[in-house]
Symmetry: none
Subunit: 207 residues, 4 copies
């Protein structure tokens, strides 16, 4: 796919050079996350990403042959990250009361947060390729749907999928609170927690 060339090389074995390459890729990706987050996909420039990561523009293009490929890689990495997180959550969820599950969702978004808002720009602003964006959405929805079915026994797969879409959107609200003043933000988070809680409760009742 759009994985950086170096990553696939590095996957085969990690010589000293691979090590340096990996560091560089990491630096670029970090810079990418930063710049995309700050400016949005279109306004972000490869030159700035290169500069911010201490890389020559040519080197950046060595690892990511296009702006889109960088966005894709970032999105993919993030998707993987989230997937793992959700998988973990899935394993603990069956033993948790529904309220805690709600909290877990919110907390999960809180943890992602910083890495998250850039994902929003890439997904919303058509930054990444259509494919990658679709994949991303699917991963998110699948992971959440899975948790929901464990948390709410008897929930049909279809219903879980539906809920995952709505829930995911609601949780996106958590990230958006980042722009509010701290005091307000805290209250907003509480409010969102409450909303998620009653959503799950309701579904549990209905289901």
């Amino acid at each position: 796919m759009n994985l950086p060339k170096q990553i696939s090389d590095a996957a085969r074995g990690s010589e000293p050079k691979g090590e340096k390459g990996r560091l560089r890729v990491a630096a670029i990706m970090e810079a990418g996350v930063q710049v995309f987050t700050e400016k949005g996909y279109d306004a972000a420039t490869m030159t700035e990403i290169a500069a911010r990561s201490g890389t020559a523009i040519g080197s950046l293009y060595r690892f990511f042959p296009s702006k889109e490929s960088l966005a894709d890689a970032l999105l993919l990495r993030y998707a993987l990250h989230v997937k793992n997180g959700l998988a973990e959550m899935a394993q603990q969820v069956s033993e948790l009361p529904l309220e805690s599950v709600a909290d877990a969702f919110v907390d999960f978004m809180l943890v992602l947060q910083s890495q998250r808002s850039f994902a929003n720009s890439l997904v919303d602003a058509r930054g990444a390729s259509a494919d990658e964006r679709a994949r991303f959405r699917e991963v998110m929805r699948g992971g959440v749907a899975d948790i929901l079915r464990r948390a709410i026994p008897g929930l049909s797969p279809a219903k879980a999928k539906l809920m995952s879409v709505v829930l995911l959107h609601t949780l996106k609200g958590v990230v958006n609170t980042a722009n509010e003043e701290p005091a307000i933000r805290a209250m907003l988070l509480t409010e969102i927690r409450e909303l998620v809680r009653i959503y799950l409760a309701s579904a549990s009742g209905r289901g």
Copy 2:
């Protein structure tokens, strides 16, 4: 501010030229909405907006001295539009059962929809100025908060404001459903309606 120059002129009195100017501004704004919606803020070009509105690029710049100012004006107009809609809703809301209020919110978003997604691009993609975006948010929140207080007697202003933020975000989900397949979309809307309903009900109970 970023109001079109002609608008302030026109405010003073409407000579034939003012009339023509108003028409032209309207045409530009319509074209602006179209192009921003289709391409997003960054990818939209002033030249295309001018062409699409049958205006010379120079004239466009006479009315809107920068791309951002056009985005600002569009956002402002939209905010006003929404404000009115919400104000209308506010007047009917006190006599409605809470479920109907929930539906009204969703239906309202559905009505806005087309005009709405462009607003999202401008707000999310930093198309408009930070000021205008903030103003936009405030208008939305204020209007919704007002409705909430009427729909749910005893709701404190602060709580209403808080809820408006969360509710607004949830309702944004309505617009996003536009990308889903029709069958799925219908179910998603139902799901969102349900969520809004229980949210209001819960607030009513808690309040």
Copy 3:
């Protein structure tokens, strides 16, 4: 096709602005011929062509939306020029002795000369679009074949076409002599004249 936008505009009527545009297009094309000739298609830069024609790079792109389109336009113009020249020659040819026809061919190439070598770069170096290059070749061959049939009664169309290819190539040699020292060049031209002469004579005999 790839005609400069301004040219088609100007074709409709020539207002003062059209006049300026035409001048500018002419300047650009002249600079294009120069630079393409000196450096070849690939090594030529749009920036230099712009500078050499006293045009801002943006303006250049207003008239010729891509490097290739400029090359195409240049080739087309040249093709038209040659076509006319050949058509003219065609009308005088039936009354001329074969030797004079041969000379006419060589002289014709001599006249074209300066404009010619750039055409060679564009055609040989894949500078222009494949279409335009094919069209160019066809025009040249058709024109020459036509002349041949008038000059050599009884020449079949197929044979004329064949001969036009060979003759055209031979005549290309005239242009190449431009790099030789004057004294040598004169003798080379005489030699080529002789070759063309005997080629025509032979064909006349054979035909």
Copy 4:
């Protein structure tokens, strides 16, 4: 000059490394011919040439310190090759009827053909240095002139040189036929043979 450094080294004596070096140089040159032929001088990249020859880019630059130097070396080698071919032809030519000499020229170009078109790119596209290109031309002309004097007794050196230029250009037409459809091509070749034949015959008569 632009000879590969290793070649001069190798000239002194051939240690194992010299042997390996010579192989490598050969591989690079082969790849160079391929890539230059396929893409033309400008579009060819050193990286691809390196890859195609199984050589590290750094090594390529050890042998050929610049793209131009590689082109020069290729042209030189080709010139030598042609020189030998012409020398061979020269020895058989005195016993051949003039028609066969004409055919021999055409056949010779046919044989070179594949290696030839790359030379055209390098020479026409200014790929190689001006010096090397001049040298190349001289070699070709000298070789052909020599043959001409043997084939046509009494031909003055000056006249032979003159004819060689014209003849060489005509023969270049043989290579160009490669782009035509096979049926057409066959006829073109016949036509060229005929032209060369009468050219030689004429010179023989005149001489």
